[in-house]
Structure formats: structure tokens, C-alpha cells
């Protein structure tokens, strides 16, 4: 039963805010794809306390999503090699449009809106040539496909909006083809890169991983308010070689890997599943395979360990709270020393948690 004060606050919100805005949706702070125990794939909205604000069925397994900067609308993207994306009105908790990848393309699971919210950008595989593409969709034209441009590499995975309005794309470097499912076709020659581009696709900078890191697939990125990008990799070689997996890019001097001690590095099992920015100078990287999350402080270059089974989703809400989710339906927030559980649901949260504005 909502308290009288909350009801009044809700009414006030309806009266004075644009009705399509995020504030009117029972205050979700983050969204995530998930799988219910009955097998149904869904997209959910989470409140600051970790409760479910809404859930919308998805036709198949989702991966990540893009939240519109002002309107209460998200686009859920199917998991690689899916071809659907679903535009969801979070006010009604309903899907209002389905987007299909153009013929010959499939989605990689991530997307972002432009700063003004007019365009949606999706990472895609033009799979006959293996070329990475960024699909562009114009929202005001009912998400019509405007075109696409090069992602700057093979296997573009996460795409994010930078504070200056540019785009950053993590090109994981691994070629796949839907005919062979999720098999990796080019491990002998793979090369991953981080590409920075304008929203019209003009490449502004591109940095490849060094040859010794050739088998690292740079897939997940997040940006601090000053534009510094944190990236997380997935090692395709012998995990006991324990290469560095997390680093930063600040525009100059290429990619800088953070030095992490061998024990912490081994605990990641060669695999970072998601990265989120925390405050002005820190990142959290999660490893579902290592059942661990590491907080990297850029000031002191210290890494702190958190432990949670199958933890993957991580984001910092607009209110500044870092939230994490796992495959057991738990929602955590970071504490100084450990994770505290906010809620537990009878579902499995999928890889990514996305903050809403």
C-alpha cells in the first residue's frame, strides 16, 4: 500500500512533468534483460531498492538495452546473433515497436542513443563479410533505419555515448557467422580495438591492443564524466597466462592496462562481463566466471574485490549508487568492504544493467 505522501508525490509528478518522462514511471533507476523461472525472457525495470517496477516480455533472450535520455523509453537488444530489438514504453510497461536488423546483419546486443535522443545506434555484424557496422535509426521517424557506418573493426560489441556527444565502440575482434552459431572463426588473426567516432561515423581515434594482447577481446566499456574510458577484456588464450583484463583510455597514449596482482587477476578467470563507471575516478568490472567484481580506483591504482555468484550486471544509477545483479536474481549495492543485497527475485538477470537518466 503506497503511503499518502508517495501518492501525492506521484500525482504531482504527473501534473508538472512531461508525461512521457522517466520520473513518472514509478522511479526505475536501472533496466536489465532477464529470464523468468518459467523460461520467459523479459526486460525489467528496477527501483533504487532493487524491486521490480515493470517487466515486459521479449521474444527471445535479450542482452543489453539503451535508455532514452529524457523520455521513459528503452530499446532492448537481442543477444548475439539475434536480429530483433524492442522499443518499450516504460510508462505502460509495453513493447510498442519491434526493430529488425536489415537483411545480412545481426545485432551484437548493445546500443546507445545520441545525446539529444534523436538517433539510436546499434552494433551489428554484416556477416557475409564479417565487417562490423553501426546501425543508425531515427527515432522521430518511427525508428526508421537511416543507414549504417563502419564500426572500425570486427565484432563490435558495446557502444557508448561519451560526455562530449561522440561514440565509443569496443570492437572485440572476433568474427562469427550465424551459420556456425557462436563459433569463433578468426582466433588466429583476431585483433581488438577501441574506436572513437562522431555520430555520423567519422573515425576520430582508434587504438589496437598491443601484439602481446592479441588474444584479448576488448568488449565492454564505460566512461567517466571527464571522458576517460574504462575497458574490460575477455582472454581467448590459456586463462592461466593471466594477462591484464582491465584498463583505461584517456585520449592520449593509447590503452593503459591496470596492474593487478596475480591472485586477483586469476580470480577473474580471463573474463570480464561488464564494466561501469563509479563516481569521478573509479570503475567496477565484473567477472561472472570468477564470481567476482573488482573496483579499480584510478587515483591510487588499487583494486578491491567483491564476491557474488555469477555476478555480471553493473551500473551506477543517476543518484550515484552502484548496483550489481547476478544470474540468481539478486540485486546488490556496493558497500565499502562487501556487497549488500538489496533484493532477490525468482529470475536470472542477464549480463547488463543499464542506468536510466
Amino acid at each position: 500500500m503506497p503511503k499518502r505522501r508517495d501518492v501525492l508525490a506521484g500525482l504531482a509528478a504527473t501534473a508538472f512533468l512531461p508525461s512521457k518522462g522517466w520520473a513518472s514511471v514509478g522511479k526505475p533507476v536501472a533496466i536489465s534483460a532477464a529470464k523468468r523461472s518459467d523460461g520467459q525472457h523479459i526486460l525489467v525495470g528496477l527501483s533504487a531498492r532493487g524491486s521490480l517496477v515493470f517487466q515486459v516480455p521479449l521474444p527471445d533472450r535479450g542482452h543489453a538495452a539503451a535508455a532514452h535520455p529524457s523520455d521513459a523509453e528503452v530499446v532492448a537488444i537481442s543477444r548475439r546473433p539475434g536480429t530483433f530489438a524492442l522499443v518499450i514504453n516504460c510508462l505502460e510497461g509495453k513493447a510498442k515497436q519491434r526493430l529488425d536488423a536489415p537483411k545480412g546483419h545481426h545485432f551484437y546486443g548493445h546500443a546507445t542513443f545520441s545525446r539529444d535522443g534523436r538517433y539510436l545506434f546499434t552494433t551489428e555484424n554484416l556477416y557475409e563479410t564479417g565487417e562490423g557496422r553501426i546501425g543508425v535509426w531515427e527515432r522521430q521517424q518511427g525508428f526508421s533505419r537511416v543507414g549504417d557506418f563502419s564500426s572500425g573493426g570486427i565484432g563490435p560489441h558495446e557502444i557508448i555515448l561519451l560526455p562530449n556527444g561522440d561514440l565509443a565502440v569496443a570492437n572485440g575482434g572476433i568474427r562469427t557467422h550465424p551459420n556456425s552459431g557462436r563459433d569463433k572463426l578468426n582466433l588466429l588473426s583476431m585483433r581488438s580495438n577501441l574506436s572513437i567516432m562522431s555520430i555520423s561515423g567519422t573515425l576520430k581515434d582508434q587504438t589496437e591492443l598491443p601484439p602481446s594482447m592479441r588474444l584479448n577481446s576488448l568488449r565492454h566499456i564505460a566512461a567517466l564524466p571527464d571522458g576517460t574510458i574504462g575497458f574490460g577484456c575477455q582472454w581467448q588464450g590459456d586463462v592461466f597466462e593471466t594477462p591484464a583484463l582491465f584498463g583505461t583510455y584517456s585520449g592520449k597514449g593509447g590503452l593503459h592496462f591496470e596492474d593487478v596482482d596475480e591472485t586477483q587477476l586469476r580470480s577473474l578467470k580471463g573474463y570480464i562481463g561488464s564494466v561501469a563507471a563509479v563516481g569521478a575516478d573509479a570503475f567496477v568490472a565484473t567477472s561472472p566466471r570468477g564470481h567476482a567484481a573488482l573496483l579499480f580506483g584510478l587515483k591510487d591504482h588499487a583494486a578491491q574485490n567483491y564476491r557474488a555468484h555469477d555476478v555480471c550486471g553493473v551500473t551506477t544509477s543517476a543518484q550515484g549508487v552502484t548496483l550489481l545483479t547476478n544470474g540468481l536474481g539478486q540485486v546488490f549495492s556496493t558497500n565499502t568492504r562487501a556487497l549488500s543485497q538489496l533484493a532477490a527475485h525468482n529470475l536470472a538477470f542477464d549480463n547488463h544493467l543499464i542506468a536510466v537518466p
Binding site: Q234, E262, T263, G273, D310, C312, G327
Partner: protein
Amino acid sequence: MLKRFVVLLTCVATPGLADIDDVLTDHIAPGYSTLVEATAHLSNVAEETCAPEAITPAFHTAYDAWIRISHIQFGPLEDQGLALAMSFWPDPKDSTGKAIARLTRFADPIVNAPDQFGEVSAAAQGFTALERLLYDPQPDAEYACKFVRAVAEGLSRKAMALESAWPAFADRMTTAGASGNARFQSDEEVNRALYTALSTGLEFLHDQRLGRPLGSFERPRPRRAEARRSERSLRHIVLTLNALEDLTTTFFDGDLSETKAAFAAAKERAASLDDPALAGVANPVERIRVEALQRTVNDIRNAVNEEIGKPLGITAGFNSLDGD
């Protein structure tokens, strides 16, 4: 220490098919107490002699004790970050060789300072380092002797630190869900930790202890076998099978007929191999028998999943398996 450990546990009942108390009292506590005794003895022997052949019996006993309990990767071992400092393997970059060479080249006196020795590279601290020092020719015998003493004493100290931290951790396991217990929110989480120790132990046996030396048919890798210098490779496989079987039967009270049969088959295959360092992986005929052993380990994994994982409602991680 062990006595207090037992007293703490007697009043706690675990409902259902899994028996957490039994695992603590009959599997983990004796495992650590044996490790403490064996490493203390090893350290004493190393104090008395510098002759590698005089130290190796105690080395074997202590290494056995470690392999018997090393599958319990959660708890104090994880909290104190000591897993690699006990044993650094697999080691594809030869961190062990490099760390030993570096300390030896500079005759670093840190080997004379037991309180500081825990600060050296983890690769120079464990059984893997000790094996090198005892079985590989050392350029500076006098330094190697001090080094062996430092590693042996360090192992003894680590074993004691782990054992003394276990009662408090065991208490967390048996009071899962109680207010103030941030480590375990429910019995399911404890079951999951134990099941993960079992399944990860089997995976490590299959993929690393067997898979690493097997390599591929075209390219077998006998020099990648664990502890091949001391010819303990097969012994580790047998010890692991016994330890994981003991964990399985202590932990789970339901029907284990498939699992037990698979363990018996694997142990029989391992016993029939007369190949302590697994050098035979490079011989097409002998190799077939090692591959057959590896397949039986896979049978154990499947049986454990069916007979323990499913009844306990534990499935592989949704995100861990994703690969994106």
C-alpha cells in the same frame, strides 16, 4: 583447535539432502589438521638437513596433504589470497622458474626472514617452488638450502593461519541466513559453495591435471604435467579422485549410485596406469589409456550434475556460460 571446531558444529542441523556439518567435521577439519602436521614436520626436517633426498619424504607427505584439501578453494584460502602461494600451477609463463632464478641470482636475504618471506612472489612460495628447489640442480647449494627452509616454514605458517581461521568461517557456514552473517545469506549459498568446490575440482582434474599434458594428439605436452619433476603427476590425480569422492559422499545424502560407479571406474583406470609423470601421453598407445581416464572423469562430472546438482537445484551460472 580441532576440538573447538567440532563443538561449534554439533548443535546445528542442516535440513535436506546436503550435510554441511559432516563436510566441516569429517572432511575439511581433518584435511587442514593433516596439512598443519605435515607442513610442520616438513619445516622441522628442512631445519635439520640440507640434503634434498633427506627432505623429499616429508615433502611428499606434506604435498599429499595439500592436494587432498586443495579443492576447498573458498573460505580462508580465498579470503587470505593464499591459493597461489600454496601451489602455483598451471604456470604457462614459468613464473616459478623466473621467481626462483631472480631470488637466487641476487642471493636475496629475504629467505632468512620468515616474517617477510610471505611478501615474495607467490610463485616462489609454494609446493611448486619447493619441488623445483629439491629436484632441479641449483647453482648455489647453500642459498638453495636456505630457500628450501624458507618455503617449508612459510608453508607451515600458511597452513596454521588457514586452520586457525576455519572455525570462524565454519560458523558462517552453519549460521547461513542469520542476521549479521553477510557471507552466507542462506543454506542454498553454502550448498552452492560446496557444490562449486566439487564441480570445479572435477573440471580442474579433467581440463588441467589431465588435459594440459594430453594437449592434442598431434601435439602432446608431457612437460606440462603437474609436478612431473617429482613424478607426482599421476599421484595428484589419484589423490584428487579420492578427495573429491570423500567430499561427495560426506556432503550429499541422496542416491549416488551413478556417481560412485563413475568414481570407481576412474580410480581403477588411474590405478592401472604405470606412468607417474604421465610421460606416456606422447606415446600413441599409452595415450589412449590416459584419454580413457579423462573420459571417466567426465562421466563423474555428468553423474554429479544429475545426482547432486539437479536435486539441490544448482545449475551452471546463467551469465558465466554466456560468453559475451
